[in-house]
Symmetry: C2
Subunit: 149 residues, 2 copies
């Protein structure tokens, strides 16, 4: 029997805390140049003049850092076939150079497939936290898990 | 008077089509290495053996490509102070090397602030389309626009 976490093994209410992501100015600027070239993501001085009071990471960069921590710590242990999408993503606090992020997930709901016996859906609340345990981003993931044969 | 699009200028039902993003194998693999190292995002052969039948872009990469097109074509013309987050993000079809993406937005709703006169909220439906005009990703953005002084 596979040790991977299948749909049957997931329990509503389960909480996982994982990951450690050090945010650097270099990576903030590199991501922003490629995908979100707004002044407060590109330049410390422009950030200081903005409502954010300093350089901050693109929200999509924070989402990608969350993805990194999930891919590193969660996916290898699960029989997941990937996320269908996300609901309710909110960028709550700025992410700045020097921040150290981690992630927390909580299983909200399991939904049986109507017409497939090989996969089931799981709704998972995710939070990205900084070194002060403040949530910087929250989202609800909708993930397909394989069922045991 | 500023030429930038302020909250008052936004009209419900407005549609914009913009952007052109050529998806390369190199960029798919580079993004995946950094943020979403799953086999079908990293390696053509592993992709062929997966349910996707070939190398596909990370969903977060597609979101970042959407961000790039918005930052290039929309944000410079608007008095937007950034997105609060989004709802209902769905990855609908795989994005593959050689695909050429574009974006479409439609204004769904304007919401006046209860306790701020300087900004208002706009809910915007976004779609990322491929060269066959198929939606590969959809989402609803929640964006703050500055009000005219």
């Amino acid at each position: 029997m596979s040790d991977l976490v299948h749909w049957e093994d997931v329990e509503v209410g389960q909480v996982q805390r994982f990951g450690r992501y050090e945010v650097t100015q270099e990576e903030i600027v590199e991501f922003a140049r490629q995908f979100d070239p707004q002044p407060f993501h590109l330049d410390e001085e422009a950030g200081r003049r903005s409502i954010f009071g300093g350089l901050i990471a693109s929200g999509w960069h924070t989402a990608a850092m969350f993805s990194h921590m999930v891919a590193e710590h969660v996916i290898p242990a699960t029989a997941s076939t990937g996320a269908v999408g996300f609901d309710d993503l909110r960028w709550i606090k700025p992410v700045r150079p020097g921040d150290v992020l981690s992630a927390e997930t909580r299983v909200l709901e399991k939904i049986e497939s109507r017409n497939r016996r090989d996969v089931g859906t799981v709704r998972i609340a995710g939070r990205v936290l900084n070194q002060r345990d403040e949530a910087v981003m929250t989202l609800t993931s909708i993930v397909l898990f394989r069922c045991r044969p």
